[in-house]
Amino acid sequence: MKRTVPLLIVLVGGILMMVQYFIPHQVSQSIFNYYTDWAPIVSSFALILGIGSLTRVHAHKIRRKADNWQYSWAVLIPLYLMPVLGLIWPKSMGGGMDAPSIFHFMYMYIQIPIQATMFSLLAFYIASAAFRAFRAKSALATVLLLAAVVVMLGQVPIGELLGSWFPKLGLWILRYPNLAAKRAIMLGVGFGMLATNLKIIFGVERNWLGGVGK
């Protein structure tokens, strides 16, 4: 029951969906439609596990008065407040999900700016990573460095001032050697994925059940 049934579900489900791909008939289509309808429903329940984990970790911190435990309130309060405000709270008192509402405000003016700013940190990090990594330590590192510099210059107007061949060279590297590398990696990755798919369907790889052994 604990291991055999899940492995059986995987086997049957896997083979069913694999065969389904080759059958355009309406019976097979309706199986696929069931899958696309059901999968989001089943997986959305998993969010409860996440809420449970986050709550437990931060409740522990607060109880143990661990380092920075005060900040745990900054996690827990909005975590429970957001769904209440968005779904239950009356609209007349700033509830609901559409603007203007507290829910919308928290999303639009706190979450979105923080996420966008987090994303934009990449501009800084890409510069410092380039500084530290692009050193001609070896022939290989030099290749990496030169390719990066040529493509980088080819992208901006200033590269064109250096010569019209410059952007072209950058584009050439992107279009040919870069594509060759990408294609080889993708082919390798493709085979790896296929093998893993098979290993899971046929129960060779059982890691996802949790635990390495029994």
Binding site: F124, A136, M152, E160
Partner: protein
């Protein structure tokens, strides 16, 4: 000994100096415009020429398919094309593929209609020119004449009027957007009975003249994700609607094949693509000046140069300090 320590210090320079450098070069060009020349490319020129060939009897769609994250790249594209269309009196339908994308749509049209903007268009909300519509005036020149006959005057600095319902319609977001595109190939009004302000689209002159996507001449999808492909699959492949892409720089190479196969009219890739369009608008006197993307390109140039300088400094320090002879630094690849 002290010479080595200088090189060593340079190699292990505090990262925060690099951060500061990037921070400075990303702010300064906004105040001191260098205006480095941007050379236009075929992919953008083909969009420009196509929009330029349209007139008041045609119509275009501008689809907002990006989130605030890629706003800097996608927004100027949409703004440039909208201003170009307004200049030629081409009606513009605006849609959004997700709720958050609709906020992008609103800020784009706000920017174009805002009197603070250099070269803005004076907004005439749908309700305000109801009398003119009721008289049955549909021709755009006659609408303007009737409106100005009522005593309205174009403010200083405005490039023209923008009649809501005749020059633009804010259709906004509707759920399951790929099916919405499909539905609009039959009728725009059934998919969007109302615009985002609650105005009935059925009463809009531009929807009388352009009932479905078949009667529309182009769609520009400003996209930060794969949504742009929806327009190709559901509109271009189904009814042959010309599609133009406005995509982020990172996506540009991935979508290049669509241009080669002719499925896409043209493509603006990242800030650079938008800057090219702005340059063409300015050169042809459609806008008085270039806009945010062009300034952004100065930042790009400066940042790229700075990063390359950092790399050069790093390498000088590395070799001058003799580190290439030792294996001091961490291993790995």
């Amino acid at each position: 000994m002290s010479a080595v320590s200088i090189w060593e210090r340079m190699l292990n320079i505090d990262r925060r100096w690099i951060f500061l450098g990037i921070g400075i070069v990303s702010v300064v060009p906004f105040f001191l415009r260098f205006g480095l020349p941007v050379v236009t490319t075929d992919e953008v020129e083909s969009i420009y020429n196509y929009v330029d060939s349209l007139g008041s009897e045609d119509a275009i769609f501008v689809s907002f398919d990006f989130a605030p994250g890629t706003q800097a790249e996608n927004m100027p594209m949409a703004v440039a094309v909208i201003r170009h269309a307004f200049h030629n009196h081409v009606p513009v339908f605006m849609t959004a593929s997700f709720p958050i994308h609709q906020t992008m749509m609103i800020s784009a049209i706000d920017y174009v209609l805002n009197p603070q903007t250099e070269g803005f268009y004076q907004n005439v909300p749908f309700g305000e020119w109801e009398r003119i519509r009721e008289k049955g005036i549909t021709d755009r020149d006659e609408i303007v004449a009737a409106w100005e006959a009522e005593g309205n005057e174009l403010p200083d600095g405005a490039l023209g009027w923008a009649f809501e319902g005749r020059d633009y319609a804010l259709l906004g977001f509707a759920p399951v957007f790929n099916l919405v595109i499909l539905g609009m190939t039959n009728s725009i009004e059934t998919q969007y009975p109302q615009d985002i302000n609650g105005n009935p689209t059925g009463e809009m002159p531009m929807l009388h003249e352009h009932k479905s996507l078949r009667e529309v001449d182009m769609v520009l999808t400003c996209s930060g994700s794969g949504v742009c492909v929806w327009w190709v699959t559901f509109a271009r492949e189904k009814i042959g609607l010309p599609v133009a892409f406005g995509v982020t720089a990172v996506m540009a190479t991935d979508y290049y094949p669509y241009i080669q196969t002719g499925q896409v009219l043209g493509q603006m890739g990242g800030l650079r693509g938008a800057a090219e369009y702005e340059v063409m608008l300015e050169e042809n006197g459609i806008t008085p000046s270039t806009d945010k993307a062009f300034t952004g390109m100065d930042v790009q140039s400066a940042a790229h140069i700075l990063i390359i300088l950092f790399i050069i400094i790093g390498n000088i320090a590395y070799f001058a300090g003799g580190f290439h002879k030792k294996r001091l630094l961490k291993g790995g690849r």
